[in-house]
Symmetry: C2
Subunit: 203 residues, 2 copies
Amino acid sequence: MTSAEQPASPRKKVGRRPGSADTRLVVLEAARAEFAARGYEKASMRAIGRAAGVDAALLHHYFGTKDRLFLAALEFPVDPQMVVEQVIAGDRATVGERVAGFVLGLWEQPEVLTRMLALVRVAATTEQVAQLMRGFVQEELVRRVAVELDVERPELRTELMISQIVGLAMARYVIGVEPLASATREELLPLLAPTFQRYLTGE
Amino acid sequence: MTSAEQPASPRKKVGRRPGSADTRLVVLEAARAEFAARGYEKASMRAIGRAAGVDAALLHHYFGTKDRLFLAALEFPVDPQMVVEQVIAGDRATVGERVAGFVLGLWEQPEVLTRMLALVRVAATTEQVAQLMRGFVQEELVRRVAVELDVERPELRTELMISQIVGLAMARYVIGVEPLASATREELLPLLAPTFQRYLTGE
């Protein structure tokens, strides 16, 4: 789902060919190493390009900005920018319903669910990954959502929304408690929507 | 915090002495093995006693019922029965506030927090433990809370409350996103209480 996953066809050849499949793998590997070593905030595109033997400008051209490269490197199943544009922005009165519908719908795609649970599991047990997620979530998700909100403590409220989403994934899919695990989207939506609505708007 | 952790002094001696420290360790080890092998619902006190060389009646006398033994064996940091009696039962109009205050207060005890996070981490990565937790949570926590509630789908609503609690622990302590990680109990209580209130009472 990340826009960085399908780079446009290469136009120039300098050093490694950034558009080729094996260069892509080398870049993603270098990115994972750099993110793991320095954390999301301190990782630099320049260092990733250098490690991969790819010119920084070309790296930007084919992988976009740091957040795009991170999403691609961690195979992050959701693009925060897309979430903000398509889910958070828009009619305030129904934002809770949109968030609940989006999240429940997302998990109905097995490959997205699998990838998300893998990330939650690794973050739960590996401090380095937890730290990476923390930086990325704060910088790229919370900040972007918070700026759209017209409430006090928008970051805190955004993170409470995220905490309900993560906990729902844990309870529904990892622990698998019944009846929550088998509840349908239609059953859960009216229970969850007001929670998200209140966190995001205070209503 | 579990009442089963300090057995009364032994009065009889049959087979192993159930009150002695090493018998206690043998019983807890046998309990962990039985729970792991058969899951919470199917594990039997009789089999645990047999494996530990302790008479089933004495096992009951010193460790109480199956749920008590489970709490002791997994060093579960919270006693669901106590939670229901002290937190859920009582004035319906303020139950959300009581749940939020209880949870946030609980985590201010470092040893409880550490143990709880350890359980969440293991459950997140080990299907066997997740399955154990599922059985225990459904049988001993959800059922007991749900019976106190006067709403439709009380089990589902109880599990949504639990999902918010688990997710809060993940976001606040495991991922550690700011400002949530540093928010005080006083800042979080008014944001969380209405969520729990609505899940548990529909208001």
